[in-house]
């Protein structure tokens, strides 16, 4: 069935139902089809009955993860900048002291204090850089979720086409294959088949003798 045929078919199938409904369904289907075609996504299987709530949950998860990552990076950069500014100002101060009276600068302990300050500040900056690196894990997690939402959208397109062609309520939608639901658990609340954190992983492995 080609998309161009759908507009012609819709009125014929609408007997007993509002033509406007089919017209709007056709428009939605075409819009979705065009968008997916532009994205290079090919139509695939049927949509799951619970697909749309799941997609909302997944998109919320992406928004949450990217927001967390952005905040974490910005906070770490702010903190690193404070330490960096401290090193800069202390370097200028100690340089002036050494130029003015090198013996006094060393004897008073100012130079050693400066060295200690730099060491502590660089350790903190290193930790901030590690935090920034770790914050990038959102890419992996959200990437998997995006792939699943794209898959879901493709299935939605297929379902809408079928609905329009058959002019009848869609058959009982197939459950999404288990593999499709793999990946990050975006909402573990109320589920007993998944773990919520690493501590639960460790507990489960311990119960298995690990």
């Amino acid at each position: 069935m080609k998309m161009d045929d759908l507009s012609d078919l819709a009125p014929q199938m609408a007997a007993g139902a509002s033509p406007e409904v089919f017209h709007q369904l056709g428009m939605i289907t075409r819009q979705l089809h065009d968008t997916l075609t532009q994205l290079g996504v090919m139509p695939k299987l049927q949509i799951a009955a619970d697909g749309l709530p799941d997609a909302r949950s997944r998109l919320n998860y992406i928004a949450s993860k990217t927001s967390d990552a952005a905040n974490k990076v910005l906070n770490s950069v702010d903190s690193a900048k404070v330490d960096h500014a401290h090193i800069s100002s202390e370097t200028r101060r100690i340089a002036e002291a050494i130029v003015k009276d090198p013996v006094k600068a060393v004897a008073s302990g100012a130079v050693m204090n400066f060295v200690g300050d730099v060491e502590a500040a660089t350790a903190r900056i290193d930790q901030h850089l590690t935090d920034i690196m770790l914050a990038q894990d959102f890419h992996d997690l959200t990437g998997q979720v995006v792939a699943k939402v794209v898959s879901l959208a493709t299935e939605l397109e297929d379902s809408l086409v079928k609905l329009l062609v058959q002019a009848a309520p869609p058959e009982q939608a197939q459950k999404v294959e288990a593999a499709v639901l793999n990946g990050p658990v975006v909402n573990p609340e109320g589920r007993t088949d998944v773990v919520k954190d690493q501590a639960e992983v460790d507990d489960l492995l311990a119960s298995l003798g690990f």
Binding site: L134, D137, D140, Q144, P184, D193, V201, L208
Partner: protein, 132 residues
């Protein structure tokens, strides 16, 4: 007992970002000897053509996933001694149990902290030392 700096790691993940993160964390643990593979098939070829001491693998990957890689490693006489630490977003209990049953040395769910990775790597190395 070996330290991470003595070991050669193979990091297997289809997301380059995660490979870089794991590599960076291993570096902070003192390990500068780590290589990367983007899926299980590439990893298996690398494992058969060079010597590695430790595998850190994702599960959900194209071509050959982490379970398939784990199975291939444990079936291969020359590779089965390798510890395989699963680092994955798969949080389903059945996946964790399956990984344990199929011979994974550890299991970490993403997102994870540096401390978690360090703890698991150390724990696996201690076990290896104890059984050596």
């Amino acid at each position: 007992m070996s330290t991470p700096s003595d070991l050669k790691f193979l990091i297997v993940d289809d997301f380059s970002t995660m490979r870089r993160i794991v590599r960076g964390l291993l570096k902070e643990m003192g390990c500068n000897n780590a290589e990367e593979a983007e899926d299980g098939a590439v990893a298996l070829n690398m494992l058969k053509s060079a010597k590695y001491d430790f595998v850190v693998s994702d599960i959900n990957m194209p071509n050959m996933n982490g379970f398939e890689l784990l199975g291939a490693i444990k079936k291969d006489e020359s590779l089965k001694h390798l510890p395989v630490l699963m680092v994955t977003a798969e949080a389903r209990k059945e996946d964790i149990v399956r990984a344990a049953q199929e011979g994974a040395a550890g299991y970490i769910v993403k997102p994870f902290t540096k401390a978690t990775l360090e703890e698991k790597v150390q724990k696996i190395m201690q076990k290896l030392a104890a059984t050596a």
